[in-house]
Each structure stands twice: as structure tokens, then as C-alpha cells.
């Protein structure tokens, strides 16, 4: 029974990690850069939702109902994401095209990560905060196992969203445009695709995914701090690499796997071992099979 | 320096489904000054890439002085005496002129020697002076004009003391004075016995420097001969001008030569 419960817990964590992994993999697949602001958006949405939905002495304590707070949380993250697009990806593309300094968007995103993290700390401090959902205490209990409703919801939502996303990428005009841009941005421009209008779409989707994941994390685990993004980022990146960079379904499977591995490792060896299994796994994969379980990363050159 | 003889035998190379070099064979004689010409897309730069090892060949054989070098990895080819320049300038943008040029003789130093001594710097500077570039030693190359950078690339390739020097459009973008300087430099290099192989579009430059021309189209050899013979060959005219080759073009070339 113990193991079965751990399995459930692992899958629940995995569901949330899957979201974030998909956000990472989408940006790397479509835009060839590792977007370190995703964990910041994750955390931002969660913190904003907390701040707005509770009352108290902190800034923006408006005591809104949870769905309104969550909606605004997502909106804030999306706006932040679009600002980031404007000042990292778009700006740098315009100046340097496809040239040598590929690592710039990555470094800029690190800058933004620092900005957002400390802006949140300045506004709300570093203490852990409780994020409460009305039906938080409703768990599904069967056969002695506990399945949290928010967790289940997040898993289901993750799968549904990714399914929609894959179909969109395959079928819709925007999806085809995105894939063309991933292959070769210059050729895409020559084919009449307005890259500067389409790329923000990726950032928008990324923002929504990261925000949803953050809010669901907050509801599932009830506690939010300015550092939850960091904790999740590393696991999500491992999930992304496991599933293959750019592979959206791979990211889901990878995220789930990492959730399972993490929960099992902690239950067997204690929390202190935490870093080693996931990071060790990532290191080994990167060296042995960087393209992940699912084979070739189909997408182009200079991955930064 | 003894020049090397380069031989391609039945060499083929495809990218994706496209056969870019098609059963190509020709020989560049020791000590000759050969031009490799052809319309855009004929495969000239690909030939350079295959000979210098940037890409492996799919089929056939590349030999240097009779020795098969087709399997030698790129870092090993310079040891066989193959040195080249590039169509689009590929200098190290963040290094100075002297530093760029010194990369040429990197391979000639013993494996673990660390020192970059005064002698090496002096050698680099005098090679630059030899090419008329003595005013630029310390400058970071990305700030220099195109024509200067092109000639720096030639000096870099020369410092490797090659047995065959392959230059990809060395005269492109040069004005007539620079072009004359370059030709004089290459004549001095050739006089030392080094084999020259150039890709060039500037036919006047070719006519004044080269003694042999190899013409490619669609990855195949369509003609080999002297620069004078090249202009009259119908296959060559067809490749450059299309099937309705105008006799006029030949006429004006003949009058130019008669002068």
C-alpha cells in the first residue's frame, strides 16, 4: 500500500512537472533557446494568486475568490512572458539574426529570472505562504489510497492541453508556421510567415502553461514561496531532456517519470538525497543519450 | 617547399537526395597554377570542402602525391600540406591580425610547446608585410575592411607552409591595385614550387595567373585546358551562357586577347 500511495504521489507531482516540461520543450523546440524565465512565471502566477485570494497585511491582499485570483495570476504571467519576448528573443533576433552569439537569449532569461524572483521577494518577502482552495480537502479515497483532487485535475488538464497543443501544431496554420520557424527562421520569413507576429504566440502558450502549473502546484501542496520555481525547474528540465528536446509528448512522459523517480527516491532514502537521483539522471542522460528516450531531436542547429 | 600533386578519381558526394559532385575526376599537377571555375552551384566550393576534409566523400578517391587521403580526418589534412582560404571570410573575429595569421603555423609547432615566442610573431609580421599588410598587425580583424580580411586569410593559409594552396575566390572584392598585389604574391609563392588551386570568377585574374583551368557544372567535369582554350569550348559557353551561346561573346574575348 505504501508503494501504491507513493506511485500516486509520484504521478501527481509528475502531472505538474509535465506542464513545465512542455513549456520548456516548446520554447527549445520552436525557438532554440532554453528559457530560464519559465520557473519565474511558474512562481509568479502562484504568488500572485495567493496574494490576491487572501486577506492580510501584504501587498495586493484583495481577498478575491480563487478563480478570479487564478485568472489574474495567469494574466500576469502571460504579460510578463510577452515582455520577456520583447526584450530577449525579438530584440536579439533583430540585431544578430542567426549569428554566433546564440547564448544571449539564455543569459537574458537568467537576468529576468533574477528580476522577477527579487521583485516578488521585495513585494511579499520570503516566508512560505498558504494557498487555500475551497475543495482542497476533498480527496478521493479508495482502497486506502488518497488521491488529491487538485492533483488529478492537474494531470487531466496537462494531458488535455498537450493533446490540444499537438493537434494545433500539426493541423493549424499557426502550428505549421511555428514548425517552419523552428526548422529555419530565414526560410520561413521568405515564405511569407511573419515571424515577429508568430513568435509571441509561443511565449504566450509558454506563459499560460507555466502559470497553470504554478497555480496547480500551489493548490496541490498548499504552500508557495518565491523559490518554488527553482525547485521545479530542475526536475522539469530533466523531464524535457528525457523526452527529447522539442518533443511535446516526450516532455509529458519525461515529466511523469521524473515525478515518480523523485518521490520514490525520497521515500526510500530520505529528503537529503533529493538532488542526486534527478540531477544524476540528467547528467547521465546528457552524456549517454542527449536526445532522450524518444530518439532524435528533429529540430535544427545551434541549440541554446 | 615541394608542391604536391592533387588527384580526384571518380569522386561523388550527395547532400540529402541531391548529388552535388558527380563522378568527378581531375588532376592538379605539381607546381601548377590551376583555376577551378564554373557557374554558381557547380560544386567548386564543395570540391574544396572535400579535399580539405570538411565533408567526407561518398565515393571515389582523393590522392595527394599518390597517397590516398580520403579517410584522413580534417585536422590531419593540414599535416599533408593542404591549406585553404574560404569564400565567405572565416577569420577569428575576436583575434588580432597577427593572431589570426599565426593560427596557420599552429600545426608546425611540436605538440606540447606552449610558448608563442617572439620569433613566431616576427615571422607572422613579415609574412603580412610580404603581402602588403604591414600596417595592420595588432588590429582586431572584425574592424578591418573586406578586401584586407580576404588577404589576411591568404597569409594565414600561407603560414602553414602548404604544398598545395587552395584559395576560394581570393580576388573577390579587391580593387585592381589589390588584385595586382595578390597576383604578384601568388606568383612568388608559385615560384617556390607550391601548387596553386583557385576558385575564381574573375577571368582576367585567372588568365594572368593560371596555366590550367578546370571547368565544372552540376558537379561534373565539363572541360580542362588552358585559359585560352576555355573560352572557345562550346560546353563551357553553354554552361555559362545557356544553349543560345552568342558568338559575339567569343568575338569580344578574342579581340581583348589580341590586344
Amino acid at each position: 500500500m505504501q508503494s501504491a500511495q507513493q506511485l500516486i504521489n509520484g504521478l501527481m507531482l509528475g502531472g505538474i512537472l509535465a506542464f513545465v516540461a512542455v513549456a520548456f520543450t516548446l520554447t527549445i523546440g520552436m525557438l532554440n533557446f532554453l528559457n530560464f524565465t519559465i520557473p519565474a512565471l511558474f512562481m509568479l502566477a502562484a504568488m500572485v494568486t495567493w496574494a490576491l485570494s487572501t486577506t492580510g497585511a501584504h501587498v495586493f491582499a484583495l481577498g478575491l475568490p480563487w478563480y478570479a485570483a487564478a485568472a489574474i495570476g495567469i494574466a500576469v504571467a502571460v504579460v510578463a512572458s510577452l515582455i520577456i519576448e520583447r526584450f530577449t528573443y525579438r530584440y536579439l533576433k533583430a540585431r544578430y539574426g542567426d549569428a554566433t552569439e546564440h547564448a544571449l537569449p539564455l543569459v537574458s532569461s537568467l537576468g529576468f529570472l533574477i528580476i522577477f524572483e527579487h521583485a516578488v521577494i521585495t513585494l511579499w518577502g520570503t516566508d512560505p505562504q498558504r494557498l487555500v482552495l475551497p475543495f482542497r480537502d476533498m480527496d478521493l479515497r479508495f482502497a486506502g489510497l488518497i488521491v488529491g483532487i487538485p492533483h488529478l485535475f492537474s494531470l487531466g488538464l496537462a494531458i488535455a492541453l498537450v493533446w490540444v497543443l499537438s493537434r494545433m501544431l500539426k493541423r493549424s496554420r499557426i502550428g505549421r508556421a511555428l514548425r517552419a520557424i523552428a526548422e529555419n527562421p530565414d526560410a520561413a520569413t521568405l515564405m511569407g510567415i511573419d515571424v515577429s507576429r508568430i513568435v509571441p504566440v509561443v511565449f504566450l502558450i509558454t506563459g499560460v502553461l507555466a502559470a497553470l502549473a504554478g497555480i496547480l502546484y500551489g493548490f496541490s501542496y498548499s504552500t508557495v514561496t518565491p523559490y518554488i520555481g527553482d525547485a521545479v525547474a530542475t526536475d522539469a528540465i530533466t523531464g524535457m531532456v528525457l523526452g527529447g528536446l522539442g518533443n511535446v509528448w516526450g516532455a509529458i512522459v519525461g515529466g511523469m517519470l521524473v515525478g515518480l523517480i523523485k518521490v520514490f527516491a525520497i521515500s526510500q532514502f530520505g529528503a537529503e538525497i533529493e538532488k542526486i537521483p534527478v540531477w544524476g539522471l540528467l547528467l547521465v542522460i546528457l552524456i549517454i543519450r542527449p536526445t532522450g528516450i524518444f530518439g532524435k531531436s528533429r529540430l535544427g542547429k545551434g541549440k541554446f | 617547399m615541394n608542391g604536391a600533386e592533387l588527384s580526384l578519381a571518380d569522386v561523388s558526394k550527395s547532400f540529402g537526395g541531391l548529388m552535388v559532385i558527380d563522378h568527378l575526376g581531375f588532376t592538379v599537377k605539381r607546381g601548377s597554377r590551376t583555376a577551378l571555375i564554373g557557374p554558381n552551384g557547380a560544386g567548386k566550393t564543395t570540391v574544396f570542402n572535400l579535399v580539405s576534409g570538411v565533408y567526407p566523400i561518398d565515393d571515389g578517391k582523393i590522392s595527394l602525391d599518390g597517397e590516398d587521403i580520403s579517410m584522413v580526418p580534417p585536422a590531419g589534412r593540414i599535416g599533408h600540406g593542404i591549406s585553404r582560404s574560404f569564400q565567405n571570410i572565416r577569420l577569428m573575429p575576436h583575434l588580432s591580425t597577427v593572431e589570426n595569421v599565426m593560427l596557420g603555423e599552429h600545426w608546425r609547432r611540436p605538440a606540447f610547446s606552449l610558448a608563442r615566442g617572439r620569433r613566431a610573431v616576427e615571422a607572422a609580421k613579415s609574412a603580412l608585410a610580404d603581402a602588403g599588410l604591414q600596417t595592420y598587425p595588432g588590429q582586431v580583424v572584425s574592424n578591418l575592411p573586406y578586401g584586407i580580411q580576404k588577404r589576411i586569410e591568404v597569409v594565414r593559409a600561407l603560414l602553414a607552409e602548404p604544398r598545395i594552396l587552395m584559395l576560394d575566390e581570393p580576388a573577390a572584392g579587391l580593387n585592381s591595385a589589390e588584385s595586382d598585389d595578390l597576383r604578384a604574391l601568388l606568383e612568388r609563392v608559385s615560384a617556390r614550387g607550391v601548387t596553386l588551386l583557385l576558385v575564381e570568377h574573375d577571368m582576367q585574374f585567372v588568365r594572368q595567373l593560371c596555366d590550367h583551368v578546370v571547368v565544372l557544372n552540376f558537379g561534373q567535369l565539363i572541360f580542362e585546358g588552358t585559359p585560352e582554350e576555355v573560352h572557345c569550348d562550346p560546353a563551357v559557353l553553354e554552361a555559362y551562357l545557356g544553349t543560345d551561346a552568342q558568338p559575339k561573346a567569343v568575338q569580344s574575348d578574342n579581340t581583348a586577347q589580341a590586344r
Binding site: T122, L283 | G79, R90, E99
Partner: protein, 295 residues
């Protein structure tokens, strides 16, 4: 020099050493987000040697550097199979694994960290830093250094001119690791403490940012980066103490740092100090000297 100032100077110099540990691989074209890993190795090794084996400071620092360098050497070969973002992630992962290992060594303090009593003040930090700077400047002036910088600018062309890319990159990575170890050894004896928590993800990110913002083209870059990001926050903090209305500067200094990173990447991505800048400065000095002579 007041205690406060000497403290700031020591931190600046140690940050410089650690910045150089990331700079060397970066100058060879390898993006390294694993500074924390080598700093931890060096710090725990040196700290363990002085506090538990009674070693004197100097040999402890030396051994820490050598050990970190050895780890870097062994790690270099598998890591160099990766490129680009994969390499960034692999070095990141390495640093976290190292952290995880030290967290689980109770004799070195485990999660609570390692405390040491030996103190390394300026008399130790300054000469060590000077040696490191001289070493880096010398390395860059050698044939190996030229090969490294060529590899950074254009790997393929470097290959064609006979550069042994693999060995050059291994050398850069190993030297960087050793310097990280030395930096860590200095760190643990300056603060009399080291732990995994504070020397983690953010630490590595900050060091990489110092280096990239200072500029990877010349040996001046990392020092400029460390200077900018050690001194500016201190200035901001001092201002906020003097003028209470500027209190936000204290907590806001990281935000300023982040904004600076974004701005510099937009406006001057090569970093503050570039070859061209050094050329110009040298040129002005030369002109000044000739004018002096003429007078």
C-alpha cells in the same frame, strides 16, 4: 583599511578568482554553469584539511585546487561530448550532483555546512589572486591560449588548421576547475563557513553572468565583471543606509543586477570589455607617450 573595506576587497578578489574559473572554459567556447561544483569541491577539501586534519592553509589551498582540477579533467571527457544547451545543462547537473554528495557527508557537516576556524585574510587572498591572474594572462598568451580562443571563435576552421580541439577544450575545462577549487578554498577560509545551500544554482548563475557581462574576449573581463557586481551592490547598500528613503536599494540591488544583465545583453552582448576597447585604450596610451616624448 577598515575591517569593512578589507572584507569587501577580499570578497571581490575571491569572486574574481571564481570568475576566472568560468572564464577559461568560456574563452575556449564552453559555457559552464557548474562553477558551484568546483567551488564546493575546493571549499570542502581545503576546509576539511585545515579543520579536521590540521593542515596549514597554503598546502590546503593547493591540494584543493589540484583535486578540483583532477575532477574537472575526468569530467571533461564526457562533458565535451555535449554542446550548446546540453553542455550548459550537463555542467549545471554536475554542480547539483556535487552538492547532493556533500549534503550527505555528515563528517563534513551535511546540510548544516562546514565551519572552519582558520582564517584567510588579505595577506593570503591577495597573493593567491595575483598568482591566478598572472597564470591566466600567461596561458592566454601561449600557443595553447591562442588555440583556445580560435576554438571559441570558429571550431571548424580551427580543426582545419590542425588544432586538437578535444585536448584544448579539456585543458581549458581542467584549468577552470582547478581555479574554481582554489576559489572555494579561499572562500571557506574567508567566511569560516561553507554550505551547499548558498553555493548552489543561483551561485553558478551569478558567476556565469559576471563573466559574460565583464566580457570573455580578454583577461580583463572577469575582473571587470566581478568588480561591477561586487562593488555596485555595496555602493547601493551604503547609499540606502545613509539615506533611509532609498531603503529599497538594499533589497532592490538584485533587481538592478537583473536589469543590468538584460540591458547589457541587449546593447553590448560581447560584454563590457572587448578586444576593440583594449586596442583603443592602448592606442591612446601610445599616443600620449609619443606626445610626451615629443614635448
Amino acid at each position: 583599511m577598515s575591517g569593512y573595506m578589507s572584507g569587501v576587497l577580499a570578497v571581490l578578489l575571491i569572486n574574481t578568482v571564481i570568475a576566472y574559473s568560468v572564464f577559461l572554459p568560456a574563452a575556449a567556447g564552453l559555457l559552464n554553469l557548474g562553477a558551484a561544483g568546483f567551488v564546493l569541491i575546493g571549499g570542502y577539501t581545503a576546509g576539511g584539511l585545515t579543520s579536521q586534519a590540521g593542515w596549514p592553509l597554503a598546502p590546503a589551498i593547493l591540494v584543493a585546487g589540484l583535486f578540483a582540477g583532477a575532477v574537472a579533467f575526468v569530467l571533461a571527457f564526457p562533458i565535451l561530448r555535449t554542446r550548446g544547451v546540453y553542455m550548459v545543462l550537463a555542467t549545471f547537473a554536475f554542480a547539483e550532483v556535487v552538492g547532493g554528495i556533500y549534503l550527505n557527508i555528515p563528517s563534513l557537516g551535511g546540510a548544516t555546512g562546514l565551519s572552519v576556524s582558520t582564517y584567510a585574510g588579505l595577506p593570503v587572498v591577495i597573493p593567491t589572486t595575483v598568482c591566478v591572474v598572472i597564470f591566466v594572462a600567461w596561458l592566454l598568451s601561449t600557443r595553447l591560449g591562442l588555440a583556445m580562443r580560435a576554438a571559441h571563435d570558429d571550431e571548424n576552421v580551427s580543426l582545419l588548421f590542425g588544432v586538437n580541439l578535444r585536448m584544448v577544450q579539456v585543458a581549458a575545462f581542467t584549468a577552470g576547475g582547478a581555479l574554481g577549487g582554489i576559489g572555494g578554498a579561499l572562500l571557506v577560509h574567508q567566511f569560516n563557513f561553507i554550505d551547499v545551500q548558498t553555493t548552489g544554482v543561483l551561485f553558478s548563475i551569478y558567476v556565469l553572468l559576471y563573466v559574460l557581462i565583464g566580457g570573455t574576449q580578454t583577461a580583463w573581463g572577469p575582473f571587470a565583471g566581478a568588480l561591477f557586481f561586487t562593488v555596485v551592490p555595496e555602493i547601493l547598500r551604503t547609499i540606502s543606509k545613509l539615506d533611509p528613503s532609498m531603503q529599497f536599494l538594499e533589497t532592490g540591488r538584485f533587481i538592478v543586477f537583473g536589469i543590468a544583465v538584460v540591458l547589457i545583453m541587449m546593447v553590448r552582448p560581447e560584454g563590457m570589455i572587448t578586444r576593440t576597447l583594449i586596442e583603443k585604450v592602448q592606442g591612446s596610451f601610445r599616443r600620449l607617450a609619443t606626445r610626451q616624448k615629443a614635448v
